[in-house]
């Protein structure tokens, strides 16, 4: 959903991968950008330069920032057998059924952590909490690389708060593995 930081969060993830010597590509897909509107962002990470500019139809992993979107059919379209799901969801990962055999399911109540750190908001900003969870669940980027990316993007107190959000995401996420 717009306003939750999906686009910026993905950029931070791309930068963290780049800091580890990888190539990364972030492609946002949205209509008019507005708080509360649905937003999809694609991310590719590779050892070599990424040439294709098309969207991703069969992702290795999905990350869902808004619990309301987990039930939406479009969210899970293309998610394949052996894939990974990282969800902002209050329940246990074992309870999650996305209709396909996944290799890992990770759940975290990112909304609660975000509210705790940033105060209550109509649309909670969960991106940096989810980044920590993604790091733990996928092992694609190190937590330290995410911290560096966050600090570069938000120098000062806001950055440190987001680093804390990221750390708590990493520590609090529950990962179920097949």
């Amino acid at each position: 959903m717009g306003g939750q930081g999906a686009v910026l969060g993905t950029l931070l993830l791309a930068e963290a991968a780049f800091r580890e010597g990888k190539w990364a590509q972030k492609i946002p897909v949205y209509g008019g950008m507005r708080r509360g509107g649905a937003v999809t962002v694609f991310l590719r990470i590779d050892e070599k330069p990424i040439r294709r500019s098309c969207g991703i139809y069969e992702p290795d992993a999905i990350v869902v920032l808004d619990p309301a979107l987990i039930k939406v059919e479009a969210t899970r379209t293309g998610l394949r057998k052996g894939g990974i799901a990282v969800l902002n969801y209050r329940g246990k990962p074992e309870e999650v059924n996305l209709g396909v055999e996944l290799s890992k399911v990770a759940t975290i109540d990112a909304t609660a952590i975000s509210t705790d750190l940033f105060g209550p908001r109509a649309i909670p900003i969960t991106n940096t909490v989810m980044l920590g969870a993604v790091s733990r669940a996928t092992r694609w980027v190190k937590l330290e690389s995410l911290y560096e990316a966050i600090r570069r993007q938000f120098p000062g107190r806001i950055g440190e708060l987001n680093v804390e959000a990221c750390e708590r995401g990493y520590e609090s996420v529950e990962v179920w593995e097949a």
Binding site: W23, A24, R52, S53, G55
Partner: protein, 342 residues
């Protein structure tokens, strides 16, 4: 500025006054700007502009196709189409060298698609400021310092034809200058783009697909796969649409039996298909032995140009090569169900 029309008028005026200027727009903005877009070529002003391709409303939206910039093809602007952010950055620097070359003095549009280039983040190398300054000496318009009195005077009808012919001649000269500038840029900065046109994985192939802009990167991956499968198809990236590389295409026509043109645009009621295909058909018409020509509309209104679609188009081109004739001259690829659900 209260609008794009004024923005271009101001850019032209500033250029005439001796400033190096830059502006950018997209879709409705470019269309709204159009009347003023004729000013810089007519006045031989080296304005540089990014045309960030976006589909024109109402049959468009925020996402890209190439109709907004292609609509300006007759204005006298040089048009270079870029594949990714790195090429955009490098081409903007090159654009000033081309535009301000005393053999040219024409404005340059650096065209690239919204979303797939403009909103897509990739690692991009920024050249050193000092090296760019060396590459781009200070702007001094020699034509204006030679004939300042001509600026306000409306030309006589006889002179209009002459002035237009001069623009046409500058466009022809631009072909060589674009290549020269790209080569020098590659030597200094380590990145080059083969001037107006790039042949990719074309050794010993019988057929090629022609792409423009961001879809080229995707097509590189597909062509690599197809070559791996032993299919005789390569890729041609059209970077310079204005000036159009007629000579290069005529030379290619001797080597390739079938050409498939991928048009991310429409020209309703045209002689046949999209703008690039029509341009190419004219370039090849005088040849005795012409390759077969297929044309595809794809990515209209900003829909994704997918791996499956490029593969489909490549297969149609290869099919035409095997059969020796073209079954369908123009195809709207997006209307086919190729099994993709976003």
């Amino acid at each position: 500025m209260e609008g794009e029309h004024t923005a271009m008028a101001a850019a032209a005026a500033a250029s005439a006054a001796g400033a190096r200027v830059f502006t950018a727009s997209a879709a409705q903005g470019i269309v709204y700007m159009e009347e003023a877009l004729w000013m810089p070529p007519g006045r031989r002003l080296p304005v540089v502009m990014c045309m960030v391709n976006r589909a024109i409303a109402p049959l468009g939206g925020l996402r890209p196709d190439h109709n907004d910039s292609l609509l300006q093809r007759d204005t006298g602007w040089i048009q270079l189409y870029c594949e990714n952010s790195q090429e955009v950055l490098d081409t903007v620097v090159q654009a000033y060298r081309i535009a301000e070359d005393r053999r040219i003095y024409l404005p340059v549009a650096v065209c690239y698609e919204g979303y797939f280039v403009s909103a897509t983040a990739i690692p991009t190398a920024a050249p050193d400021q000092g090296e760019v300054d060396d590459f781009l000496p200070p702007y001094k318009h020699e034509l204006y310092s030679l004939y300042p009195e001509d600026y306000h005077r409306p030309p006589f009808p006889m002179n209009i034809a002459k002035a237009r012919y001069e623009v046409q001649q500058a466009m022809e000269r631009a072909k060589g200058v674009i290549e020269e500038v790209d080569e020098e840029y590659a030597k200094r900065f380590g990145r080059g783009y083969d001037g107006l046109i790039e042949e990719y994985a074309c050794e010993d192939v019988e057929a090629v697909l022609i792409t423009m802009g961001s879809m080229t990167g995707t097509a590189r991956d597909v062509v690599d796969e197809l070559r791996g499968e032993g299919k005789p198809i390569g890729l041609v990236k059209l970077r310079g649409f204005r000036p159009f590389p007629t000579e290069e295409f005529r030379e290619m026509a001797m080597r390739y039996h079938v050409i498939g043109v991928v048009d991310r645009n429409t020209s309703f009621g045209s002689a046949g298909g999209g703008v690039v295909a029509m341009e190419l058909a004219r370039a090849l018409y005088p040849l005795d032995d012409r390759p077969l020509l297929l044309n595809f509309h794809v990515g209209l209104g900003g829909s994704d140009v997918t791996i499956n679609q490029i593969r489909y188009m490549a297969e149609r081109v290869l099919e035409a090569y095997e059969r020796g004739y073209v079954e369908k001259e123009v195809e709207w690829v997006e209307l086919l169900d190729l099994g993709e659900v976003m």
